[in-house]
Symmetry: C2
């Protein structure tokens, strides 16, 4: 063993007794990155912690007003009983264990198109256990490009596709590329899924909100987009990007095509990258405006020769976590670039390569999402029935909950046009607001904790998404299965009625 490997003890002699106090250690709350401490992400915050305590109580046999915690805080369909698509899971099981393909008895139980897809995927990589190219597996990126081409009626290219660990990883990569400091602002909706605000905070950027119009089905208005530019300037920042979540999270609206086009134009005119969070594109219900991708809108205006179109920089995000596939845990997703130069694309590839690649199972899950069984293929009937069942059930649950909420005093709720959420307004009486203040809590959080403790229902306070000052909301998914809803909705009705009796006075507008 070479002598120089042993460190002499001289350091010890010099520094003995000089150890830091706990508050001086680098991993202590006062010493770590204050931007991390400042970042907020309410979807898994205080409410969830309280829910986990109550769950422990239930397990320990404590008597509570409910027998089950119903987690509506997060869009996590399979946690609430949604079954995975057979085609997806069958294919992945073969990709992970190719030995199954050698067993005739096993092959016999798999549909032919599943066998075929698994073999194609296995041929596209050395192994599911090998790092892929940083940008993602070429074959899967080609399938994504085909999907986009068919969806929009305009060509897409695998070169523009990056496969990511869910949409979140893609959003973070883009934001990291865009934000240089507090003078750079991102314009984002309020209410808003807090990934955007949290990431902006972590990157020391500035967030400038545009408020969605609750009175017009959470619509996007030009006045608010312009106001957001002004708000950025007032904070000493220039806007670099605009985030749109369509269909909306937490607000559930589906944007009509003319609005999609106008937002694109607004971004191009103001030199903003449009970050289009389109993870709920399959979740549009009933008579709502049908989903229009920003990519399609861009292709159309480009084809029409709009002078601004060639400079409209667009990044659109998609995920395996939502839609009717609901594979949150597999962390699959992608983003597509439009009008982004090659040298910038190379920087994104480099950024991806620092983490080596997104997870390969998630990459294949993205492939299975965008290239499902086609009519005539062995899995098609099952696939189509599973898809129809999941979507119909989601829509019916959305209506059921919205109707239940709208019947209650002190609550009002826009219909869910899309996504997986309702964002009802809580018309909190002054006495309730005062009671929350007396306990040192934000009023909607205080309300949501009372709701949880009375019903077992976990929702997220509106303050976690932002909301107009003086208004209060909560976000709830409509993902619980009907059985659970039949138990929890009457409890909610009972809670709300008693709550309003306790806190409302004649002066309150309810």
């Amino acid at each position: 063993m070479p002598a120089r490997r042993h460190l002499p003890t001289v350091v010890l002699v010099v520094l003995a007794g000089a150890t830091a106090s706990e508050e001086e250690l680098p991993l202590s709350l006062g010493q770590i990155n204050p931007l991390l401490v400042k970042a907020e992400y309410a979807v898994r915050g205080r409410l969830l912690n309280r829910a986990m305590e109550l769950e422990e109580d239930l397990k320990a046999g404590v008597s509570l007003p409910f027998k089950k915690i119903v987690r509506c805080n997060i869009g996590n369909p399979q946690a609430l009983g949604q079954k995975p698509l057979s085609f997806v899971r069958q294919t992945l099981s073969l990709v992970l264990n190719p030995d199954l393909l050698k067993e005739p008895t096993v092959r016999a139980i798999y549909p032919a198109d599943v066998l075929e897809r698994a073999e194609a995927y296995l041929a596209s990589v050395p192994s599911a256990g090998a790092y892929s190219d940083s940008q993602g597996i070429q074959l899967v990126r080609e399938h994504v490009a085909d999907f986009i081409s068919k969806r929009d009626g305009h060509p897409a290219s695998a070169r523009d596709i990056f496969l990511t660990d869910g949409a979140s990883a893609g959003v973070k990569a883009l934001m990291q590329m865009l934000m240089r400091g507090p003078h750079d602002a991102v314009i984002a909706p309020v209410p808003q899924y807090p990934l955007y605000s949290a990431t902006t905070t972590l990157l020391n950027g500035t967030l400038s909100p545009y408020y969605l119009d609750e009175s017009a089905a959470w619509g996007v208005t030009e006045a608010e987009l312009n106001a957001a530019l002004v708000r950025a300037t007032a904070k000493g920042a220039s806007a670099r990007a605009l985030v749109v979540i369509n269909p909306g999270n937490p607000t559930g609206q589906s944007l009509p095509k003319p609005v999609v086009v106008k937002i694109l134009e607004f971004c191009a005119m103001h030199g903003l990258v449009l970050m289009a969070d389109e993870v709920y594109q399959e979740n549009v219900y009933g008579n709502a405006p049908k989903f229009t991708s920003f990519k399609q809108a861009l292709a159309e205006v480009t084809a029409k020769g709009a002078p601004w179109a060639q400079h409209a920089q667009l990044v659109s995000f998609h995920s395996t976590s939502k839609g009717f596939i609901g594979e949150c845990g597999l962390r699959g997703g992608y983003f597509e670039l439009q009008n982004v130069p090659d040298d910038v694309r190379a920087q994104l590839t480099k950024l991806a390569s620092i983490s080596l690649c997104s997870n390969v199972v998630g990459q294949f899950a993205a492939g299975l999402m965008v290239k499902p069984p086609q009519e005539g293929e062995a899995s098609f009937t099952t696939y189509a029935a599973e898809r129809a069942g999941i979507l119909a059930s989601m829509f019916s649950r959305a209506k059921l909950i919205a109707e239940a909420l709208n019947k209650l005093p002190g609550l009002s709720c826009n219909a869910a046009e899309g996504a997986m959420y309702l964002f009802p307004r809580i018309h909190l009486p002054a006495k309730a607001i005062a009671a929350a203040e007396a306990e040192g809590m934000v009023a909607d959080e205080w309300y949501c904790i009372r709701l949880l403790e009375a019903t077992g229902l976990v929702v997220v306070p509106g303050s976690g998404f932002g909301q107009e000052d003086g208004s209060f909301h909560f976000r709830t998914t409509f993902l619980p299965q009907k059985d659970d809803l039949e138990v929890v909705l009457p409890k909610l009705a009972d809670f709300q009625t008693k709550f309003m009796k306790e806190y409302a006075s004649e002066k309150d507008e309810v």
Copy 2:
């Protein structure tokens, strides 16, 4: 459709003709985050791009001096023919497709312990397709803690374990927590796996190197650790953390226990978080010092009552990508915290929750790595044979390559004690250095491109990892299968002999 959703066209009128030029767009090279542009990650850089071009040439039938590109640039075992462990893949196939458990003919082909483990995993989550807790699945974290307890002979707790997408994601999270700006430095080895330098650059922190001693089997010396503190100060920064990669990447050394203890003490005395990259802990070969985890060393000095031990903050990283499991594509990993207060742990949980969770298949892969079949269980014989085969083969290939390199003029190479890499020194003649300069290239990169073009062997220039000024190296994995080595090593010998004939003069020390 509510009228307010439609944006009027007034914006267009005002701004027509005001579109930005390409260089002014937010996603253009001059406008994006300069820290991203500055970050370097050579493992997938220029050499790999050239290799991909040559691979296309081969496909197109172009005649080259080789028939195959052999990728030794990255530790990606399954890309070079290593078979996955049967136990791992069998279990994961059932977790992803639980319907298989219902088929008696399928159950019959799976070993009993695989069926059992799959059932335990399925019972631990609602579905592999559901988001898990942000910190990772409780059952898997318990298995990780058991593994550490047994490995070290000291208790570990699931509370201290965070499951991550490979080790890289954990390193990035910790660095994001630690780095507040250019005045914060991280001390890291040179040569060094460039994740640390790239992440430091991205976070606008300062990197302060300590040089490994090539003449003493790439050992860590006290003089260099102290020098790194001084170098940080000279850059106007204070050191916050010290990175150790043990076994080393790219240098392959395995640190003896006294050195491990001394480094820990050095960190505690100087108030540095010790970031211990221990992803190659299963890859220690032959007579090399056996792996000692920093956790074990800390537990021992704590038990002995060392006054500094209670303030020794340690984060150790592990991964499913290395060892003999080699599941890079699944992106599984974890880190363990020691002496980190609860409020800081909560901040890490929040950071994890912004990305929701690490991928669930990777989480289970980590579980399968740390809790393999035990003697007496149905899979044990197969598992033990696979493990022994992979490790013996790696060691024999490491020796084969090191011996081949050491026979060649102008090359010298320390034995690989651990990890998956050799880091031979290239004694570049002055004429070669001048030739590289004339082509405007770093000399080792110029050499590696010539090597690639002559042999098909892809390695990474030493400059991608850092090296002492005036010295030149390359990193090569020893992962290619023997068949490929038998083809490529003679080509390498031929290349190097001719190269030295062409460039060396009598004045050069070879």
